[in-house]
Amino acid sequence: MASGFHAIPDAKPPRTFAGIAHASPLLDRRAFLRMAGAAWAATLAPGGARALSRTDAVFASGFRDRAGSFGLAVLAEDGTLIDRIALPARSHGMAFSPATGHLVAFARRPGTFALVVDQGGAGAPVTLAAAEGRHFFGHGCFSPDGRLLYASENDFDANRGMIGLYDARDGYRRIGEYPTWGIGTHDLAVSDDGRMLIAANGGIETHPDFGRTKLNLDHMEPSLALIDAATGALIERHGLPAKLNRLSTRHVDLDAKGRIWFACQYEGPRNDLPPLVGRFARGEALHFVDLPEETTAGLANYVGAIAVNRREGLVGLTSPKGGRAVILDAASGRVLREEAVADAAGIAAAARDFAVSSYGGRFAESRADVAFDQHIQRLGRPA
């Protein structure tokens, strides 16, 4: 796979990093470690992530503790906090490879680090620093064989989403990048056969010079792009209808049939009731799920996370703004259950149903004295 990808068919010349890869990332890493501090760097020893290898380690999630420190929590099926791995700053989404046991935590946008830890505890964690002119958007995924890590990134000066390609067999060296064919890319997923990448292009322009300020709410360009994982070529790009151009397509997950479920956050008038969740597949148009009005209102125009429980045919959604978790039937799109969860954060498929977390420290049936970030990663094959 690593040797098979080709140049990016784009108007701009692709950045292969042939010249930069050997010089810049090392420097960046040193600078990054200086910034992160010695105390944190000291945690980067082999075995620093030993908790991940425990048989009861089922989930991971970013958190912040009371003292304002950030980390990655490792949790059991019932949500018991097993251990913590220190992080230098706030993380957001994660990627896990069942093939290699590698877990990656990405910095929250516009962050510039990602940390790779080995579930088996082999080797020290690897720190990735964003390439020059790029920052991480907070999400990524592995190729099914675990050899490539795809990271959602921002080419902020050109205002275009990118997918950074990192070679897991070569210390996560950045070996190239593809465009996402959109702007404000957030979540990224890969098809089960590894041939297609799915980019949720939220359509919102941001730039690190302006922090998290949304720069183009009056002319957003949300889209969902299907991209050839081997070449970076665009397969299909699904824009949203003009009346929904303020509907930011931000998170995706795949069901057992390979259909792509997407969840949205609406930047238009707060008293609108836009569709917030939908599904599609390659060759099919976007299909929005027609949720009952009270469910849409409960999600407060803001779905923060989406997850599919493949075995049980369920789709789960959480909204921190609405304080709500909603479970849908994947076959019909019908609402099966709604639950009030104050500050609902992440959702992930559990052995049965879903694990839901909150900013207030709830995780499944447990509670911890930390604030969980917006996503939960299941450590294992998709449930």
Partner: protein, 373 residues
């Protein structure tokens, strides 16, 4: 020695303050959060924030921008040391007024590129500088037309462009030549800034507009359906504003132990860097205080508000004292110490607002603003 002591005291105070002290440990127990679902609880805060801070802020900026346009126009007509001094004073005042209200990075200011039209910063690749220099070289009369400016690059429309006209290379020629192209272009830029400021003031004063929406959250409200959403937005302005002071206004040119880039500092040409940073902090403190945000805190934990005020005051005490010559400021140990103090305390301000205040009013320990993640 006395000078050194004066410097060390605030610095030490800042370093001590930077140690997070959870409110619970300070006062025993946990603050009782207000019922943000009750519209009346937040109505007072939103009304004060809008009517006593945001709207007056935009009006003041509009007035000083109009004054700036008049003064620069008068300077062009009859250039003299006096009219130049008047233009410089008006420039300072307009920058201070803008810097107080620019902390609001939501609403009408981020529509239609208004923010960038007023202030294109940072200009990391000198894009703006090159465009302004080329424009001054070209002397195309169309560029001195304020009515045409909005259709041009944002980099030639705002404070950065005007600062180069008044203080950049070649500015010394302004006094010798009445109605010079350079000066008339500067006057057009000032008029453009005033026009955008006018749009902002009008948008916030429009009956049935954004001000009403902010003050009356509810199910049919186009901006906030609940008081909780409204207060979250206010706190977001404060947290992101304090982050911006640290990350985008200081660390762009000075990082402790890093390479200093004094020519990346905002308003370095006119010596208004610290004036602007001080006004940013003043804007944050004003929103917190005049907005009555302390009223939402459990009275037993009111020290959380006191700590925020204290940190803001510490920042404001030091910011105006840093050498406005940024080359000197980043290379003199005493000045470096002051900048380090500002960085440490700006970080502390972020934590106190986000974690302590956010937690005390029940906003998920201020962990998220549900702003697109």
């Amino acid at each position: 020695m006395l000078t050194r002591l004066r410097l060390l005291i605030p610095l030490m105070a800042g370093l001590l303050l930077s140690v997070p002290m959870p409110a619970a440990a300070q006062e025993g127990g946990t603050p009782e959060p207000p019922d943000l679902g009750d519209a009346t609880v937040v109505a007072d805060v939103m009304e004060k924030a809008v009517d006593d801070v945001i709207r007056p802020g935009y009006r003041a900026f509009h007035a000083s921008a109009e004054r700036l346009a008049e003064t620069v126009g008068a300077f062009c007509e009859a250039p003299s040391a006096e009219s130049r001094a008047a233009a410089e004073t008006a420039f300072r005042t307009a920058i201070a007024d803008w810097s107080r209200i620019e902390i609001v990075r939501v609403g009408p200011v981020i529509e239609g590129n208004r923010f960038e039209r007023i202030l294109f910063y940072p200009d990391r690749k000198s894009t703006g500088l090159k465009q302004v220099q080329a424009l001054l070289q070209r002397k195309d009369e169309a560029d001195a037309d304020a009515g045409a400016l909005p259709r041009k690059s944002v980099a030639v429309q705002g404070f950065g462009a005007l600062e180069f006209v008044l203080y950049g290379t070649g500015a010394e020629t302004l006094v010798g030549e009445p109605e010079s192209f350079r000066c008339r272009y500067g006057a057009a830029v000032a008029a453009n800034i005033a026009a955008v400021a006018g749009e902002l003031a009008a948008a916030w004063d429009a009956p049935g507009g954004i001000a009403e929406a902010w003050k009356h959250p509810g199910p049919d409200n186009p901006v906030f359906r609940t008081g909780r959403e409204a207060v979250t937005e206010l706190l977001g302005i404060l947290v992101h504003g304090a982050e911006a002071v640290r990350d985008q206004r200081i660390e762009t040119f000075y990082r402790h132990g890093g390479t200093a880039r004094p020519k990346s500092a905002i308003y370095w040409r006119s010596g208004n860097t610290w004036l602007s940073i001080d006004a940013n902090i003043e804007g944050l403190a004003t929103l917190f205080d005049k907005g009555g945000m302390a009223e939402l805190i459990d009275p037993d934990f009111i020290s959380i508000a006191g700590n925020i005020d204290f940190v803001a005051k510490s920042l404001r005490r030091v910011a105006p004292t840093v050498d406005p010559d940024i080359e000197r400021a980043v290379s003199t140990p005493e000045e470096q110490q002051k900048i380090a103090f500002l960085l440490v305390n700006a970080r502390d301000l972020v934590l106190r607002l986000d974690t302590e205040y956010g937690g005390a009013i029940g906003l998920g320990a201020g962990f998220s603003f549900a702003d697109g993640d």
